[in-house]
């Protein structure tokens, strides 16, 4: 067992101890099919929670997206994202000759599954913000990949903005039924449909 495996076990244990990290598979069973999980984004903890809620076998091939400039800045951050989470790095600075989605497409081409937060930024209150178009382009390029809407609940209570110590509160990750781009479906319609699919997964009692 390598150090990265141990770190993975430790993080998984912590996520479960603090949040329970319960995965509720409402719309599809957990399976090794190639998937893009797209979720609401409320805290820095979101990725770890989805990762811990996945069955162990799926974790190795399900990869997060990490901002290259931030997550390669120190050796530890780089090691954590590269060795433990097997992250896909993207450049935040847009250059003219390079498509920012290229690393994601390369990963999908290799057969990996991805977790993306299509809002692009964290929304701390209420409904998720409108989705960015990347999800649509990926779906168009890879029509066979299942797009699984995902709702992460309660995580903003675990670690509100500006706090460093998480408070133990149960969180759930609910996976919905996979979507596909309809024939001739407009980009805006699809993104709105995808966002609605995420919102309908929110548990009713609040």
């Amino acid at each position: 067992m390598t150090r990265a495996d141990l770190m993975g076990l430790l993080l998984n244990f912590l996520a479960r101890l603090i949040t329970g990290a319960q995965g509720h598979w409402k719309g599809c069973p957990p399976s090794a099919d190639q998937r893009i999980y797209f979720a609401n984004h409320q805290s820095h903890f979101d990725w770890v929670l989805i990762w811990a809620a996945l069955p162990k076998d799926l974790r190795a091939n399900t990869r997060p997206i990490a901002a290259k400039d931030y997550w390669t800045a120190s050796p530890f951050k780089h090691w954590l994202t590269r060795e433990v989470f097997n992250a896909v790095y993207v450049d935040r600075q847009r250059t003219d000759d390079q498509d920012p989605l290229e690393p994601l497409m390369e990963a999908l081409g290799n057969g990996d599954s991805l977790v993306i937060f299509p809002e692009g930024t964290r929304s701390s209150k209420g409904d998720p913000q409108p989705f960015k178009s990347g999800l649509y382009h990926l779906a168009e390029q890879f029509p066979l990949v299942q797009l699984v809407p995902t709702w992460i609940d309660n995580v903003q209570r675990v670690m509100p903005k500006g706090e460093v110590v998480p408070v133990p509160i149960l969180c759930t990750v609910t996976f919905g039924a996979p979507l596909h781009v309809g024939p001739g479906e407009d980009k805006r319609d699809f993104l709105e449909r995808a966002r609605a699919a995420v919102i309908t997964l929110r548990p009713k009692i609040h």
Partner: protein, 322 residues
Amino acid sequence: MGALRRLNPDEQVALLFLTLFGALLLVSTVTALLALRPTHDDSNAEWRQYQRDLRAVWLGTTLFWLAWMAGAIGATVYFGLVSFLALREFITLQHTGRSDHRTLILAFFIVLPLQYAIVGLRHFDLFTVFVPVYVFLAVPVVSALSGDPHRFLERNATIQWGIMVCVYGLSHVPALLLLEFPGYAGRGAFLLFFLVVVALMAQVAQEAASRWLRRRPVARQISRSFSIRAWLIGAFVAALIGASLYWITPFKAGQALVMAFIAAACGTMGEFVMKALKRDAGVHHWGNRSSVTGAVGLLDRVAPLCFAAPVFFHSVRWYFKL
């Protein structure tokens, strides 16, 4: 009985666990045989509930045994963990906000470990007052420092109450294991076993009594089955069972009857109170909401103990002047 008395405490405790696991094995075997019958319907809701309960009893017994094997430190750590998980469930269903964050950190990471450390060190006097006196003051101070006056008393009361039930109440369980009776050293497991059996039997008897009596519920909004008469029947049945178990405790038969009655009555009342809280939070079971994967509500299982253990512990300590 004479042969049992001649055994040393360790052998007696070993015999207790052997009997427990033997009985469980018997029940499980019968269950498995029943499930093989051609007329058996596996999707029956009551059957599933029964199987879930049976699994929970197995788990509980195994953990009880492990806690005993681990000794004073192990038992304290183990019940500390149960406390942590119970408090986590409790806080999840309360609507704590951003400004409660520091107070919750205090509750989870400072109060809880300290309370169990005090139990482990057997400082029973400090253990009794630590939460009601010191923490009672510390919680609102930390809350006030957050600078949010909105619903101040309500927010503090919620957290304070969660600490009282899930940390203070439950910490009396390992305290019972560690309580030293003269001439009863090394037999703390029997006292805990006595408490658990009595609290459990009170629940079962009360449930059966309320089905049989079909009385008008005293608080329909909270529980459709709870009536004072059913509650009394539950407590009396548990008291009789407790009295019949007096020989495993340091009590005489009459004392065991009264102690069992007190513990049983508190346990079922505690369960009733937790029902009111659940109704307020809009759930039927504690634990994760909308649980498709079947998360167990831990608080549902330990709630009677949270209330019975402190009252039982302090009654015993006061009466026997320990």
